[in-house]
Amino acid sequence: MVREKDNIDVQGALTEIKRLEREVRLRGHWIGWLWFMMGVVIAAFGVLAPPVTTGWLQYVVTLAVPVLGIFALFFAARQQVVSRVNQWIQYPVTWIFCGFVLVDVIFRLSMHPDHLSIWVVILGVLPAIPCWYAAWRVWRS
């Protein structure tokens, strides 16, 4: 317990700084998990979205996106540390993500893919890459 009148020695101060820095950084890593999960769900949706898949799987991949969105809102509201790295990267990553989603949408509207192909996989996974990059940057911080 930190007391108000404690004496503070130099080595103790450095140790305390290191301890808190580690604790706060680890607490700020939650947003990395959110970016990672967003990448997984977006990639799954991009590759397996109807009409590529049918039956129960199409409902699962379609529902996964809004479920993740709702989960993310509640999860984020409970967090107590906002990552510094995330503050820098969130806007560029979001714009790149939107750009890749647009490419995927244009591909689907023009090619009407109805079965799994290499292009469906590549363009489906593409929007997930900036999300995974963001997760990696946050975790590395």
Binding site: A13, L14, I17, V24, V82
Partner: protein, 107 residues
């Protein structure tokens, strides 16, 4: 200036070099912002003591207190300012200089 005032310790920021305030600055420095309750628990102090030291740091322009709501629940966020970040960085540099300084040769 007295020769003894050349020692690194005279360069220590007295505002930060207090246990609770040092812990506050150390916790805020690596984050964009930190919740009041998290900070209180991380540095193990009471609400009142934390508030008291936050007021000092806020008055010095080192810390910013951001009040808001999550739904209907009030929430207080704390963030280090650019002035605070620079002061803390300098403070840590001085601490490291003290640790790394070789003891003066004895005559």
């Amino acid at each position: 200036m007295n020769s003894s005032e050349n020692h690194f310790r005279h360069k220590l920021d007295e505002l930060i070099h207090v246990p609770v305030r040092l812990s506050i600055m150390a916790a805020l420095a690596p984050a964009e912002r930190v919740d009041f309750q998290f900070l209180r628990d991380a540095i193990e102090v009471s609400d009142s003591l934390l508030s008291k030291h936050l007021s000092v740091l806020e008055a010095a322009g080192y810390v910013e207190v951001i009040k808001g709501y999550v739904g209907k629940r009030p929430r207080t966020w704390l963030a280090i300012t650019e002035t605070g970040r620079t002061a803390f960085k300098d403070y840590v540099e001085v601490l490291r200089s003290i640790v790394e300084a070789k003891p003066a040769p004895q005559e």
